[in-house]
Subunit: 387 residues, 4 copies
Amino acid sequence: MPDRFGYYQNELYLQGYGGTKPPFSTDATKLEDSAAEVLDPEAFSYVAGGAGSGATMRANREAFDRWKLVPRMLTDATERELDTTVLGTAMPAPVLLAPVGVQSIVHPEAESATARAASALGVPMVMSTASSTSIEDVAQASGEGPRWFQLYWPGDPDVCGSILARARAAGFSTLVVTLDTWTLGWRPCDLDAGYLPFLRGLGMAVAFSDPAFRQLLDKPPEQDTPTAVLRWISMITGTDRHWSALPFLREHWDGPIVLKGIQHVDDARRAVDAGMDGIVVSNHGGRQVDGAAASLEVLPEIATAVGDRIEVLFDSGVRTGADVLKALALGAKAVLLGRPYVYGLALGGEDGVRHVLRSVLADLDLTMALSGHRSPADLTAAALRRA
Amino acid sequence: MPDRFGYYQNELYLQGYGGTKPPFSTDATKLEDSAAEVLDPEAFSYVAGGAGSGATMRANREAFDRWKLVPRMLTDATERELDTTVLGTAMPAPVLLAPVGVQSIVHPEAESATARAASALGVPMVMSTASSTSIEDVAQASGEGPRWFQLYWPGDPDVCGSILARARAAGFSTLVVTLDTWTLGWRPCDLDAGYLPFLRGLGMAVAFSDPAFRQLLDKPPEQDTPTAVLRWISMITGTDRHWSALPFLREHWDGPIVLKGIQHVDDARRAVDAGMDGIVVSNHGGRQVDGAAASLEVLPEIATAVGDRIEVLFDSGVRTGADVLKALALGAKAVLLGRPYVYGLALGGEDGVRHVLRSVLADLDLTMALSGHRSPADLTAAALRRA
Amino acid sequence: MPDRFGYYQNELYLQGYGGTKPPFSTDATKLEDSAAEVLDPEAFSYVAGGAGSGATMRANREAFDRWKLVPRMLTDATERELDTTVLGTAMPAPVLLAPVGVQSIVHPEAESATARAASALGVPMVMSTASSTSIEDVAQASGEGPRWFQLYWPGDPDVCGSILARARAAGFSTLVVTLDTWTLGWRPCDLDAGYLPFLRGLGMAVAFSDPAFRQLLDKPPEQDTPTAVLRWISMITGTDRHWSALPFLREHWDGPIVLKGIQHVDDARRAVDAGMDGIVVSNHGGRQVDGAAASLEVLPEIATAVGDRIEVLFDSGVRTGADVLKALALGAKAVLLGRPYVYGLALGGEDGVRHVLRSVLADLDLTMALSGHRSPADLTAAALRRA
Amino acid sequence: MPDRFGYYQNELYLQGYGGTKPPFSTDATKLEDSAAEVLDPEAFSYVAGGAGSGATMRANREAFDRWKLVPRMLTDATERELDTTVLGTAMPAPVLLAPVGVQSIVHPEAESATARAASALGVPMVMSTASSTSIEDVAQASGEGPRWFQLYWPGDPDVCGSILARARAAGFSTLVVTLDTWTLGWRPCDLDAGYLPFLRGLGMAVAFSDPAFRQLLDKPPEQDTPTAVLRWISMITGTDRHWSALPFLREHWDGPIVLKGIQHVDDARRAVDAGMDGIVVSNHGGRQVDGAAASLEVLPEIATAVGDRIEVLFDSGVRTGADVLKALALGAKAVLLGRPYVYGLALGGEDGVRHVLRSVLADLDLTMALSGHRSPADLTAAALRRA
């Protein structure tokens, strides 16, 4: 049924007619407000906050407002086909769940709940290295659902190799390597609260369950967690890699490799030259560099420069169906959705994630329909107008 | 008396001197605030809300602010003639009441009150297919007043033909076909409230009173309303037409036909090629596609492209006399006023609609006068300046 | 003493050191807030409000923000000479008090208090036809101070001639003819309150004391005031003049004539062609046409077009010394200050007007000094930068 | 340890893990709010306020938002070297403490606390002529720390010479001559409060301890302070110098001389021609001229015009690490940080200043790292994008 996403609209109206309102809002802004009410303030700030003065987060949102859709009429867009295939992964719509670590700070079922919700819809989940749940457990929760693995690149090659091997073994098809977070950005909200969940041993499931990492520690799992935490943190942060290091990943991963955090057209070209399979144009949702360009602002020139030599994905600032459509029209093959689904998780676990995801997809489907587009392939910059 | 609209100013001042203030504000923003106080929250949100994040509604308003009037002095604009004729309909000013459905949710007299108010001023009312009042009852309330009929295009040709025939028989002169709402936009306010008035059988008067529709149901009117509602909704929504379907309308309507919802210059050209008589440049007041271009932003290039080969009307975002003047100067032959009169209806029934309409027309008349223009025909882009 | 205006700064600091704070703020925004507290709401709205949605008032302020001063250093601006001569009137700084009618609604001493304050500083006052005080009484209060007369042009030539003759006889040197208010703008604040002070016989002193007007009424002064009011209002409003009517004024006024309300470069050129002596680039402080261009936005092209063939004055939106400086740099010979002094009058009568005027002049003087300019003649567009 | 500044991030997180939050925020906006709570309102307004309507302060902040960083990936920025040398002064990062007078109004230890904090980090402090602490006492508190001296140029040559000689003798290496404050700007906040700390004898330590000034007064120190204050104020304010006066400074200062307050490219060129060693592109944090151009807006053209013929420094509006980076990328060799450290002083004396300084430097270090830059020398306009 090609319009199954848009059908969520009918479902909600019919439930409303029957006296049942949706448990959480269909509006991303209200979701954030609701999440702020139920979450521990530190956890909420960790999720919602950004680098420095928050300028990059604001820029991300403002950039979407500078591009306007120009709907077309009488195009016979009755039947939409939103499905697409990115790097061999078929997905029902050009939307993935962005990698978000340490989801246990917002809900006890954490990444497992997220994986179940994504899987039920067939939407790919990009699992974070900093998950609260092990690779194998996420894979199990994910079931038949498509899954990609995000890497924070550990310094020790054995540990890195071990993690990658486990991810491949667990059915993760594509590797997403985060380039923009080799050290943590300056985040006043978290600093003022003295809050870094990893120091409390949270978000360490991938590491703690890794045999190579355990061997390196040379200690039984039940002992010496603080040491393990610090060892892992030091392995992940503080060291910037160089383009010359990329072959290591290719040696240890036989699937597609995507570089996440590209913001400059020359870096995108270099990713092509390095033989990468994809990039994610992203500023990490404004969490790393304050005062940075909106991710959407740099997307068009990057997409134009690399053409079809590499798959271009996008994240940072996506909140609505129109946002997805705009990113696609400006050259993205698919977009990654981040904070909104985490708010859904906070508010309702698996159900919350599914509600948020269905809402965004319904919004996307209807916005496609009403602007006269039948499939993502129809979308070009001609669908937009610069304000 | 050519300045009868502006005279409402004197009337209000004289009433004030006599101790009587106007029952509702002369300011559209305050009207909305007042309506929010008297209406059921769901009904208010249904009227005031828009698609997605509300970006299109905001864009509509901001677009008016980017064009500035440059008043001319000593032009002898004492005598204004605001009257005009659009597609054979004479009207005292280039303003019509936009089609707004299901007016019973804001006032029990609904479209009849609106029709009486419009008729008293000679302002054309565009009756919605989704009215709470039947075609014949609106016609009766409208009396000698000019009236156009807006069509949500039913899937069944017999039902469509029947409705059009009734509208013609009831003295509706011009057909306005809404293109941008073949499925409903994603509206978080309504979705969060689970509120769609049609599911409650509201706004169904045209359908329920239609013999062809009743015959299709094969049930007596008093039975099975839920089925009728769902049948009607399925007939109206979910199917996008193609340009090739337009001849059907021409076959069933011997008056002028206007396409409403045009936002792209190529669609405007295509309307000309399809032999249509008019278009309404409109984004449905921001209710359908989130993140869309302001209706006023696309007006100038559309007006330029089609020239005088087709009548260009305009709506979306009009709140003040200056807004009307700007749209006219940018190429519209007339504008449709929407939400403000519905707030007037909510606050005071027929009197409220008349007050709002007189206020906008007075504002228009005085703004014409004080910027040095005697008639709509004087208005060109030379009256404006881009900010 | 060339820096006497800036010296007000020292005076205020020394008073503060002695324990005395200024009775009212030196900040125009705070003055408005304070005036809102002491005035009757209707009177405050009448003064502070504007046409329609208030867009023109906002545009006026925003326009100042788009031009930025670029201060120059080490220019030896120790000694400033702010005095100038406009149309034969010497003034200590290029600032006049704009014509504001019906000042009795904010303070019982009304225009007399204003005249005394202006006179004490040598600043020209432009007296309004709609004053609460007669021509002769304002002249007396003004003493040796320079004074100009603003005309709302009465329909009856004898009455008009009589008023002009009285103004000349009373020592008013220059005639300022308001073009933009031959009918009143649409002002929702006042309309909603049903408040027009003139209907209550306020602001009628010039008319009521005029023998030609009294003769026209053919009634003794103590009788039939409502009739007189309506007669006067009908004489002033509703009729737009044409350029061809200007010779009448020249016949009845042997001093300089200035046209107030020019907003289009072609109208400015036409004023030159009509042999006028000056223009005021003005949109009446946003009180007449909603959605109009900022007065400051149209100033540069007008000043460039007319060159030195006519004196160019400016008003609408001036609040600070930097505003004055910007208008001068963009081509104005002098500026008219409006609402701020009325707030001063509301708050403290003559003292209040003097305080506000001294504050603006001190601010101007210091801003001139610190941006490196010794006299208004130094100011060109080179002092500014477009933001 | 090249990343010692960024390490403050770890320190704060580890303290937080141990249960200790930072005493004050790491966010400049929150620091200001906190300072507003602890300070006397007059003192707070004196520090936080600006000239006129505050437009220049707002412009300063908005200008930073118009330039966006475009982070580069995989540049191997692990090891940063932020240290630089400006006019012979080595500093660990291109950041100095801007001259701020009369610090006793926010903390009893005033400039001494500031000097100790700066010295501990090796960051140069620019001591103000208007300090609450004598030259010799600041020098002592500064210890081995680098120190520059800011001059408000006294009218009496002997007093000026004496002060300069004392500063040189006390180890101040570089002279920063403030050009933009030869008279005080119009500051409504302070004027409304009647608050000028100097009139109360505050911020007079340099003058009162100066033998030449005392000799001029011909009175023993314990007598006649009001006279001394007024004499000093009159010596400092009211007289604008000319470029031709600069040789006097060169005669009395054998170290580098920097002109502070340059905002026009021609003045920058003239500083080169006058043989100056450096300039500070600055509008005094918006405290002097209202409605002025943002300091950052004029920086690029000034830096381009003077090239490497003179050292270009920058201040006005710097709040975050990204701000510093942007100013460096647009041509500044180093930036001066003002209000934020004063808020730190207000909140926690020496500790507060150190915390603020470490926060800004950590933010700078991490922003450099994550945008892919290893040293200030790497930064060019290519790191930025105009929004």
